[in-house]
Structure formats: structure tokens, C-alpha cells
């Protein structure tokens, strides 16, 4: 696999690469619905959303989580992620700009692998957390 991360040089408290998602737009949700098979209508059907009492469609949580997970593969390499957990705190709306970021919180070894753990979050342009998460990646 694409091991990019050197265990010995990573320090607790290090920031992992930040990803900015500019101008979240409805086509993102439609494309993700098609790619993922998540056809919950609240994410692309304006008529359905309004009838449910919601001002407009909002992102699939897993779309945002997918954008966030790229921080990990940019950090550690594709195929190096061992654990990824997210909790959805707030909706992501069309027009939002998101910052995906994370911090290393621990280093350890298990099952013959060198592992780096940390926490993750996605914040919107108002600084509000939309997703909170945690990760574990393998290092070389």
C-alpha cells in the first residue's frame, strides 16, 4: 500500500493536511447520490424538502465524511486507513465552504503495525463543526 507516513517523525499534536471544500453546491449532492446509492430525497429533491418543512436540500452526511476522509489518505496514503469514525453534528447547506482538518493524538503499535491516531472535524464558514470524527492510520 501507499505508505507515506514516517512513524518516527510524526508527533502528537501535529496537524494533518487540511482540505478546503469551496462552494458546496446541489450538484455535489446529486453526484454523490448517484455514486453512493444514497437516494434519501432530502438531499436532492427541493419539493420533498419543502414539504418536510426544511428550507432546502442539504448534503448527505457521508458526502461530507468522504471529503473529510481525503485528509487521511493525503496524510498516510491510500490503503493505510485502519479506522475512521464520524458523528454528524450539523447540516451542510448549498453555498457553505468547509474546512476539513485533524490532529494527531496518539502513537502506538498493535498487531505488528505502527499506528497513528487522531481526531478530525469539518467546520463551516461560520466556524461551526458539522462533522466530528476520529481516525487510526498505519505508518511505515
Amino acid at each position: 500500500m501507499q505508505a507515506k507516513l514516517k512513524f518516527d517523525t510524526v508527533k502528537v499534536g501535529d496537524a494533518i493536511p487540511t482540505i478546503t471544500i469551496d462552494n458546496v453546491a446541489r450538484p455535489d449532492f446529486v453526484r454523490y447520490a448517484g455514486a453512493s446509492g444514497d437516494f434519501v430525497p432530502l438531499h436532492y429533491d427541493q419539493t420533498f424538502a419543502e414539504a418536510a418543512g426544511i428550507p432546502t436540500v442539504f448534503a448527505q452526511g457521508m458526502w461530507t465524511a468522504g471529503c473529510l476522509s481525503r485528509c487521511l489518505t493525503d496524510f498516510a496514503g491510500a490503503g493505510q486507513v485502519r479506522h475512521f469514525k464520524v458523528r454528524f453534528a450539523r447540516q451542510v447547506w448549498p453555498g457553505d465552504t468547509l474546512t476539513c482538518r485533524g490532529t494527531v493524538t496518539a502513537k502506538n503499535e498493535a498487531n505488528g503495525e505502527k499506528l497513528v491516531e487522531g481526531e478530525l472535524e469539518v467546520v463551516n464558514q461560520k466556524g461551526e463543526a458539522t462533522v466530528k470524527g476520529a481516525f487510526r492510520v498505519a505508518a511505515a
Binding site: 500500500m1 455514486a35 420533498f48 457521508m62 489518505t73 490503503g79 475512521f84
Partner: protein, 152 residues
């Protein structure tokens, strides 16, 4: 009242072939330009094959049938929120693999919501094995049915 008797129920195993076109489409959808998803030669050199994006197992929705999918019909689609999602990976998953997934109801419970009345939580765990019968991954999600519209 929620029906606790569904805890432990498993769906019928479903087959999930890992296909390049779906992997590429998924990477594009989450705005991930990593060339390992788009360039098979490079992917072979760096990863031994085309890997899957971290959250790609979400596409299992395409392969599940009514008999293999978690029981969601008790929920009102206007009031469903995805609360949590978790993935654990034990072995590489590459394009060309064929996975078998089994979904299991891990928990169902109710809680009083802060402002919207009673909320119902459903936790489903899915285990994935590959064509060599290796345990490659486990996913877990929590869905929440809120007492009122989710964007309010």
C-alpha cells in the same frame, strides 16, 4: 415502543464486486483527485491495485436487496438523520475483489429529544469478507428518527 426483538437479526449475505468505474465515480463525487483512483498503472505500483476510497463501502446500497438490507421501512423518510458512521479495515480492498457483506441490527433504542420529542436510534453493523474468505472490513452506522423535521 420500539421492537427490541429485531436486535441481532441479520440480513441475507450480499455480494459486492469492487469495480473501477464505481470507484472512480465515487472519488470524483467526494472531490478526491488522488491519482491512485484514476491511473491503474500508478495504483498498481503504489498500492498493488486500485484501492477504494475510505468511505466507499457506502456503495453497498447498490448491491443490497430487500432481504439483505437493514430494516428501515419503520422510519419516516422526512425525519431520518444519519447520526454516526464508522469503518474499520483489516485487509486491503482492491478493484477486482468480490466482497460478501452481512448486515446485522446491533441495537435499537429510544431517547427523549431536546426539542423534538422522542427520538429512535438504530445501529447496524456490516461485516465484509473477500473472495479468499478474509475478514476485510466492518462498518457501523447509527440512524436517528427525530420527532420533527430535520432541518428545522
Amino acid at each position: 415502543m420500539v421492537d427490541k426483538s429485531i436486535i441481532g437479526k441479520t440480513g441475507k449475505p450480499f455480494t459486492m464486486p469492487i469495480e473501477w468505474s464505481k470507484v472512480r465515480e465515487f472519488a470524483r463525487a467526494v472531490r478526491d483527485p488522488n491519482p491512485v483512483y484514476f491511473d491503474p498503472e500508478l495504483a498498481k505500483k503504489e498500492c498493488g491495485g486500485i484501492p477504494v476510497p475510505v468511505t466507499f463501502l457506502q456503495t453497498s446500497a447498490f448491491w443490497q436487496t430487500a432481504e439483505s438490507a437493514p430494516p428501515l421501512d419503520m422510519f419516516d423518510p422526512r425525519r431520518i438523520l444519519h447520526g454516526e458512521q464508522e469503518f474499520e479495515f483489516f485487509k486491503p480492498i482492491l478493484v477486482g475483489d468480490t466482497l460478501t457483506g452481512v448486515a446485522r441490527v446491533a441495537d435499537i433504542y429510544e431517547k427523549e429529544g431536546g426539542r423534538g420529542g422522542k427520538m429512535t436510534f438504530l445501529a447496524v453493523e456490516t461485516t465484509y469478507t473477500n473472495q479468499r474468505n478474509e475478514n476485510v472490513a466492518r462498518s457501523r452506522f447509527v440512524l436517528v428518527e427525530t420527532g420533527q423535521a430535520v432541518g428545522g
